[in-house]
Amino acid sequence: MALFGLVAVAVAFVAWRVNSVLVYDWDWSRVLGFVARFDAETGAWVSNLLLQGLFTTIRLAFWGTILAAIIGLIVGYWRTCDTLALRIISRTYVELIRNIPPLVFIFIFYFFISSQLFPALGLDSIDRDSPWVDNALFRMAFGEPALFTNFLSGLICLALFEAAYITEIVRAGIQSIDRGQWEAGRAIGLSRFNLLRDIIFPQAIRKILPPLAGQFITLIKDSAIISLISVQELTFLASEVAATTSRVFETWILVAAMYFALCYLFAHVFARLERRASRSRR
């Protein structure tokens, strides 16, 4: 209670300072207009920049989590496996990313992806009007086809960055499993793949769910960084809205609330997963 009281006092103080020192007129109407607007032509409410940005951030969070989890699982296993080459590669990857600021990594890597990787894969010449790309499902999953390569490069940067941390969590999880579990699996003649799939990973993942959840929430928050390579997610569009409306406080408070809601929801989902995992284990 004391803590909440302290926060309330702090918020009141800041509001008072803003009001009295900056002589700030609060005006939420223009900012809220950028969340959703009434389209007179179709006679319906449509999402505007901020909501579109939120959707892009949700897409980034969704695909980024999946991609980072897959990379983290594979490279995390490499960190523990017997093959020296894989151990060196995975260690290098982790150390490289953990010791460079995310922003710097993303500036460098964005150049590599957009100018080298995508042309090599032919992704930059994707036909935006083909029925494969220009449909409702694609829009829901990846956003505007015109922005797809931009979205994808941001996504890959983000996932690669977060995956380095997930790699270390996975490694710790695998190494926490008792040696006897490996031996018992080998003794009943399981192949290495089956041993990992049926015995090691299921137990490791239960153990690492809490730090994994934390890392996924960090991923959502870190997604704001890729606004700097012009991926049109929430932070990028919010800074545009703030600039156009010059309603700086309103815009960022609203955006903060959106991020909070998203992360809080995510944490909730994970807490439920955790409870289910611990129940089945008894």
Partner: protein, 247 residues
């Protein structure tokens, strides 16, 4: 007694850096034979039986299981492991799976058995170790003795030709030991080939065809149990037995 050799070990040596764990071990176990391996801790008993299914790799010598040579890092080791069941001191059941799933995993994955057949087989073996009513529980819900019996059933489910026991009762409370030994003796009566590392000398007397005494990575003495316990030939065996009886 049947005399087809099932496990043939000859000239086996293993070392870590400059520590010699096993030195020039030769031992042949015939089909249906029960061999008990005993010796002071650190004498290499566990290491020896763990070489048979390659949980440990050896550096020298040959091991054959059912005529097939077992080599470190070999491809197809899974095919040999299905002939060699193993029971560990610490049970090593899979805690995230039910007892039944613990048993069916090997037959389904290694023998390619379908789920229904594997379940039927698993229930037969659970019945045999007298624990069928616990099939749907998770291992941590069972007592140590029950867990070890499940572990025995899990190994049997692979329908191995030889069973290795690595100090199966050492981690158990005294009142749990009898139940596990009963199951093992039943198995022996059914004619299973068994190699047992244990300090249970009563079990060795009742069940073993031969007792192998190891010390400092070497086989010191091999003798029938009566002879070994009543009239050991070597000083080291006498010393060891004296220490066992002392407490």
């Amino acid at each position: 007694m049947p005399s087809t050799p099932l496990v043939e070990i000859s000239g086996l040596s293993k070392w870590y850096e400059d520590f010699s764990a096993l030195h020039d071990i030769s031992l042949t176990v015939a089909e249906g034979e029960k061999v008990v391996i005993c010796g002071p801790s650190g004498s290499g008993k566990s290491t020896l039986i763990r070489c048979i299914n390659q949980l440990e790799e050896h550096q020298q010598g040959t091991i054959r299981v059912a005529g097939q040579e077992v080599r470190p890092g070999m491809k197809g080791i899974e095919a040999i492991r299905r002939e060699v069941g193993m029971v560990f001191q610490g049970f090593n059941l899979f805690p995230h799976m039910t007892v039944l799933d613990n048993l069916t995993l090997g037959p389904i994955r290694n023998r390619g058995m379908d789920r229904a057949a594997a379940r039927k087989l698993a229930m037969e073996y659970l019945d045999k170790v007298r624990i069928a009513e616990q099939a749907d529980k998770y291992p941590p819900q069972l007592s140590g003795g029950q867990q070890q019996r499940v572990a025995i059933a899990r190994a049997l489910c692979m329908q191995p030709r030889v069973m290795l026991f690595d100090e199966p009762t050492s981690a158990l409370d005294p009142e749990m030991i009898a139940g596990v030994l009963d199951v093992m003796e039943g198995l022996a009566r059914d004619g299973m080939t068994m190699i047992v590392v244990t300090h249970e000398m009563g079990f060795a007397r009742r069940v073993a065809d031969r007792v192998v005494f190891m010390d400092e990575g070497e086989i010191v003495e091999i003798a029938p149990p009566e002879q070994f316990f009543n009239a050991p030939r070597t000083e080291r065996a006498k010393l060891f037995l004296g220490q066992l009886l002392a407490h």
